[in-house]
């Protein structure tokens, strides 16, 4: 996976294309997540260490960084998907609207109902388009018209017009980009508060990628979006805030783990980063 098409990012252009909010504006908004001292270890091997960061309401927050920097590990802490990985241990605190997600009496199932997730590879269920969207509302026992919910979700994901005549067809017959928008629609159908996207466009062609990015701009009016991406231009295009993660190699060179290097407004990260490592990464000298 290389993003080396433009070794020197034209920072003025990025400042233009990014409709990102100012940092002061972002920080004025309600905190959805408040992470402090977060570390994740798999079977005792630290993957990510000492992360502090806030995610604000109705913003897009992007996590960028080289492979192995723990950005995907990190995003999975927000909906406790790491619980499903044997041997994973999360320490530190993640507050969600002020409540500790990892408190003993918190139900991970309840969290995932409020915090939706879209994965790197589109993963529609081997069922019809309709049943894919209806799965969430059904398992959660949501009241109200299922047909309406399905239509709303598909409209929000800008997929309705393409599939409205074949809702009963198998979802696996859709194209990759359509499948990914179906997965977004599926996440929206349960009325989440936050949508986590783990490299949502990395398996898609440029046109589908653009559609997903446009979608993010739309969705941020109603939802809070957190996205992991390998693609720096994508972060520059969609995110208000960007966090740069990197890999810290121990003195003896054996152990390596991810750290959060810098977290600021996207414009700042891509034009005048304060950390040398961030600058090296966004200008393509490293990574």
């Amino acid at each position: 996976m290389t993003q080396m098409e433009s070794p020197r990012i034209d920072s003025t252009r990025i400042a233009e294309v990014s409709h990102g909010l100012e940092r002061t504006e972002v920080e004025r908004r309600e905190k959805v997540f408040s992470v402090s001292g977060l570390s994740v270890a798999y079977h005792g091997n630290v993957a990510l260490d000492g992360v502090d960061l806030n995610v604000h309401r109705n913003t897009v927050t992007a996590f960028i960084g080289p492979s192995g920097c723990g950005k995907s590990t990190f995003i999975r802490c927000f909906n406790r998907m790491n619980d499903l990985v044997p041997g994973a241990k999360v320490s530190g605190t993640v507050l969600y609207h002020g409540e500790d997600l990892y408190a003993r009496d918190v139900d991970a199932v309840e969290i995932r109902r409020r915090i939706g997730m879209v994965f790197q590879k589109p993963n529609p269920f081997p069922k019809s388009i309709y049943d894919n969207i209806a799965f969430g509302p059904r398992v959660l026992g949501m009241k109200g018209s299922l047909d309406e919910r399905v239509e709303n979700a598909l409209r929000q994901a800008a997929l309705w017009d393409e599939v409205k005549d074949r809702l009963k067809d198998g979802a696996l017959g859709l194209s990759g980009g359509q499948q990914q928008r179906l997965c977004i629609a599926r996440a929206l159908a349960v009325n989440p508060d936050v949508i986590l996207m783990d490299e949502p466009a990395s398996a898609l062609d440029p046109i589908s990628t653009t559609r997903i990015e446009d979608l993010m701009h739309e969705l941020k009016r109603e939802y809070t979006i957190v996205i992991v991406t390998h693609n720096m231009q994508q972060a520059a295009r969609v995110a208000d805030m960007t966090a740069f993660f990197s890999v810290l190699v121990d003195e003896d060179g054996g152990r390596r783990h991810g750290i959060l290097v810098e977290y600021d407004s996207t414009t700042k990260i891509f034009t005048t980063p304060s950390d040398k490592r961030t600058e090296d990464y966004v200008t393509g000298r490293f990574g």
């Binding site: 499903l84 969290i111 939706g116 997965c183």
Partner: protein
Amino acid sequence: MTVIEPHVERDYVPAPEEPIKRRGQAWKNRLFKLAMLFSMFVAFGTLAVLLVDTVVTGWPALSTQLLTGLPSTVPDEAGARPAILATLYLGALVLLFSVPIGVLTAIYLEEYANRERWWNRAIEVNIQNLAAVPAIVYGILGLAFIVRGIGVGRVVLAGGLILTLVVLPTVVVASREAIRSVPDSIRQGAFALGATKWQVVWRQVLPASIPGIATGSILALSRAVGETAPLIMVGAITYVAFNPTLMGPYTALPVQIYNWTKQPDADFQTLAAAGAIVLLVIVLSMNAVAIFLRNRYRKQW
């Protein structure tokens, strides 16, 4: 204007001294191909000869009399209705018992069991070993524990239970394969929507693995229907001149065939071959259903 010299890097240099003519490998290829053909002929040819011989021998005795008649000491009047019925009952019982037990075991092992615990690994190894235990051993076990131990007696139900034991490991192994072939991304997607473990398994994993489970179960069933040894062990008596009932004495088709072959009268040999054809038809149609299911519901992930 500068001319850019093409620069081609090769990671090999074609050696002109190496002849491009065919070297002495050809006869090895041919020999190996012959060996493969021979092996296939031994495997397939034997089967073909057996089938043809059985059909030719049994054809004259293949009649409605065979399907609907009762056993008799007179070959011309002898039929295998009780045995065919009992075999169908046994098959139904095996499906009834082995599918739920086998599938639930497979779900536990694949979705719930923590592989880091030694007892779960021990169960896994044991199930694989059980699949290799000769059927007669299950017959002995069944005689001791089911027929006599809990006193079920020499009845259809006991036979069904014992055949269930014989095929259960196969059903478990096949179901586990089917469950394992459901990609993890499906589970993750369902979990991410707030589904509970039970909902993920019941609504996503299980429906997606049904074709595999059905195929494996039917193949196991066709093995059960052809089993003879354990049934003889638990007293599927060979002369039953009435329709079997769940709690009554019975004989199964393979046992009936075995019994006919022991008769000195040559006509009974023909009858045995005809019975074998009936059994073959039952088993082959089950396999056909299995193949149909596999092709019909094959999934592309």
